[in-house]
Subunit: 215 residues, 2 copies
Amino acid sequence: MSSLPNNIPEKTIERLSEYRRTLLSCHEQGITHIFSHVLAGIHGITAVQVRRDLMLIGFSSDTKKGYDVEVLIDFIGSILDSRNPVNIAVIGMGHLGQAITKYFNGKGLKLKIIAAFDIDPEKVGKTVDDVPCYHMDHFEELVEDLDINIVVLCSPTNVASELVVPIINAGIKGVLNFTSKPLNFPRGIVVENYDITTLLEKVAYFVKENEENNL
Amino acid sequence: MSSLPNNIPEKTIERLSEYRRTLLSCHEQGITHIFSHVLAGIHGITAVQVRRDLMLIGFSSDTKKGYDVEVLIDFIGSILDSRNPVNIAVIGMGHLGQAITKYFNGKGLKLKIIAAFDIDPEKVGKTVDDVPCYHMDHFEELVEDLDINIVVLCSPTNVASELVVPIINAGIKGVLNFTSKPLNFPRGIVVENYDITTLLEKVAYFVKENEENNL
């Protein structure tokens, strides 16, 4: 029932997630307050940007010691986190799927990878860091039983299209797609397509530009 | 010596990389021409966006059959690709490092992962899909010998900061950082920080927003 949702740009959401991770790390180190320019420096952006992002979510801090780390962590959480548990499944337990599962495991995040799916008999029935791997044949029923909301797609690219219908039928609400095939879903299902090739080609492009500009 | 570099937004660069991948796939299937609205549909964006992106790089097509797939592939290549070989190294050969190495291998891209680095004796001296894994002790000399321009950072987050100085000293020009620690480098070194947690938190946020808006 928030009045803000549609006003927060995607990039701000990304940065809020990043700020929180930094703040959690500060908190672990016993740091209680942080100035916007310090937070900005860690993230390689300007203090103005940090203040603008926090203003957008309605957070203000006028203490002379900077932002209260704990308060800001909670405030960002109130924006980003769902009140309900967010259960995630990984589809495709190759190296990338396993990397993502292990990466999340034990991080104490609100987002939890609770199941994996594959069709390879070598993988089905096994666990990776306590996450069980099921056969895709049981995808729809298990999504319902386990209350899975989001899938991370790490399947081979050539089968990505075939997964669209099962994902829709299962009632999945969000898809993080790491295959090379951009996927479209009906309105109401959030999809983020992140091909690692694109990230690398982008870095390579800006390296080239720097070289041409003799930086 | 291009006059365009600083005029092309990051997001356009990302989309050009994505368009090219789709065009290459069309080309493989024997498709010779594609309309902007078809390309747009595949990527879940508007035809106006596609045309704007291509206008930004100076590409125009007025054929009634749509864009010539091969010509557009080459044109995007002339913008994105370096004339020199782009050699990439992966630092940290855990699951993510291995996933990225295997993913790129044999894709016929201009970007090539030619080396990996780790400190784990179980990994050093081995190869993953023909990519040799060296000890980090030899990082600086091998970057020079092998003419490596870009690194993909897949190390554990807690050692990421320690890698900044060796990366600078080695003369690396671009860093794709997958650890949870945002890293800053001096001007002249391109860095993209991509924490997978952020991508997932972003999907989860928009799922939550959809639910609150009853979509």
